[in-house]
Symmetry: none
Subunit: 419 residues, 2 copies
Amino acid sequence: MTVSVEIINIGDELLIGQVVNTNASWMGSMLSNAGFDVRKIIAISDNEEEIEMALEESIGKIDVVLMSGGLGPTKDDITKKVLSKYFQSEMYFHKEAFVHIQELFKARGFQVSELNKKQAYLPTKAKAIPNRNGTAYGMWFEQKNTIVIAMPGVPFEMKTMMENEILPRLISKFQPQEYAELTLMTTGLGESFLAQKIEEIETKLPKDMKLAYLPRPGIVRLRLSIRGVEKQKLEKELQITANQIIEVLGKNVVYGYNEDALEQVLGNLLMRNSLTMATAESCTGGKIAHKITSVAGSSAYFQASIVSYSNEAKNHYLAVKSSDLEQYGAVSEQVVLQMAKGARKALKVDYAVASSGIAGPDGGTSEKPVGYTWLAVAGPYNSIAILHQFGEHRGRNIERASLAALNMLRIMILEDKSS
Amino acid sequence: MTVSVEIINIGDELLIGQVVNTNASWMGSMLSNAGFDVRKIIAISDNEEEIEMALEESIGKIDVVLMSGGLGPTKDDITKKVLSKYFQSEMYFHKEAFVHIQELFKARGFQVSELNKKQAYLPTKAKAIPNRNGTAYGMWFEQKNTIVIAMPGVPFEMKTMMENEILPRLISKFQPQEYAELTLMTTGLGESFLAQKIEEIETKLPKDMKLAYLPRPGIVRLRLSIRGVEKQKLEKELQITANQIIEVLGKNVVYGYNEDALEQVLGNLLMRNSLTMATAESCTGGKIAHKITSVAGSSAYFQASIVSYSNEAKNHYLAVKSSDLEQYGAVSEQVVLQMAKGARKALKVDYAVASSGIAGPDGGTSEKPVGYTWLAVAGPYNSIAILHQFGEHRGRNIERASLAALNMLRIMILEDKSS
């Protein structure tokens, strides 16, 4: 069966953008993975009328309404009051809740304040849900076939309550339809080019399977999802379609699964083959090295990086010929190849990647406009350089160049290993 | 006047938690700052019925409905289709949009595909809103006193459209209540320590003024906001309170205003004083250099960086004594100072910063646990090293170390200039 869920996050800070609603995405992900159908996520302010209106729109139409926020001890937190009024409920003193609050405060060396004692009063029409990590208990109401659950908004408290109390109860009550998803991580091709290449697969997707394109700079995620009865069968179906897509796009484009970072995939490849690497960076300014070293354990394969912004540094540390810097300019095939080869030799590594480009916003010419970027990889068998024309935005250019360089290295290692 | 706004973000990825809805918080923040009253933020799936229902609930009740997402060229993007059906609109070929798409593709060296050509068809009942950074035009409908605006979901495209097209038009149409805010950027002190220091100012804040603490790794933003009648007066009041806070916290802690990046503030300082710099990085792995070079025009003061992950590189490029590496270990005061001094000398710059630490998650010992980090700055007059104990999380340790190093350099330059 399909179980519809609506998430209502309460708090002014969400509406004025002071806080990013990470609770919503976390709850959405947990619920979807458990087979629930998340229909809608709403953020509203700590306002009685808004909360009532949101409830009114959902009661009787949605199976489960999950609320978070507004259960704190301060004046701006009104969710409990509004809910007990809405469900025409009295309040009672929940002894266990009070003991729990006392213990929490004792552990932190504080006295329980009057404000916090109030938190032990709960509505009679709700099941009380323990909050292991905080003072605000959760509440579970049922009316007209809709379950309304209120949880605290503090992520740490909400998550523990969700995992230990809410989700197990919901699953045992509904035993929802199974859901499975699989995401392919691609790099090097834009959304519309990917769509053209896999058009045939997309038009013949199995029933109930969906494909979504999720782009970010330099990367497009292809998300396959499916709902049905048997989890294992669904996962198998996803893998079959994923394999068809990988077959068409090739492994140079599809670099991994499910939020794999390119630097992690590359790191695993280097590690598995006991290879070492270095970078020589101009326009990427250290970002390739930063990505590589953001991976735990990268010191096993990453030796060093020379971020040579100045021509002197290119000449001095990477042995780029001054005459070539003069004749071709720093942003040229000749120079980027020498940078990669120079770094490989000086740092005694198996592979070195290099970048030289016009990151912008200034420094472009009609011949070499902003975004004009040479990338190179030098390896034990050969060296290559590729010219890219990225866009106008410095930050995006740096990001795209860094990803493209990492992927060039990944491709070269794969080819070296297979030949 | 109060102008009510509802934000509707469209995309399955938001509901299943694959993407955190940062568009919503950004839009909420922009709109609140401009004096609009954001009532509700809704995330729904790329589903005709859901989109229609959300519109139905808002039309006639809300002044402005801002939608984002579902305007891409691929099959899963249905917002344009649904809106033109809902507003009983025909489609027409928008020549200007097509020329724009062609130009975007030409600049990247690609041919326009049939899919992208389709994006130049727009509903007759909508004003077309240009998209500087992408192929999907925005749309502006009006019905029953409600304005419905559809924008692309790609953050980079949406933000540019919001800033340049949507917000100016909304402000000139509604002229909402005045709102002013001012954010102080601080680094080096945690939230609760800041709160202790400015407690007295906070308890005596002027009427209608609010103070919010917005932490992120290594940085806490202090946002002062106020609503009222006369913008200039509001801004003056904010500045008075801001000055009191700066007085108490000092300029070593308060490094800038309103989302100033520390690397930008530092860059301005270097530029203004015609100084040059370099970095020698171990645990930060290139991130300090990346931050520095993310600033446009940084090539004027940034020379180079040696990311010396291996001891060999520390010795070879930075002249760190092998005997000291052996005796004290790479993560030590002795070594980090030699790295900074070595980089300053080898790269012939005015200032050099250096890092050496245990970024984690592995590599810690009881004496030097994960997060144990030495940072150093070498300048024309003196050199200093400071020990930090960061946390357990690799990414956050790298970020915090990078910011702390940048701030150390900023403080040293300020002191050198004032003495």
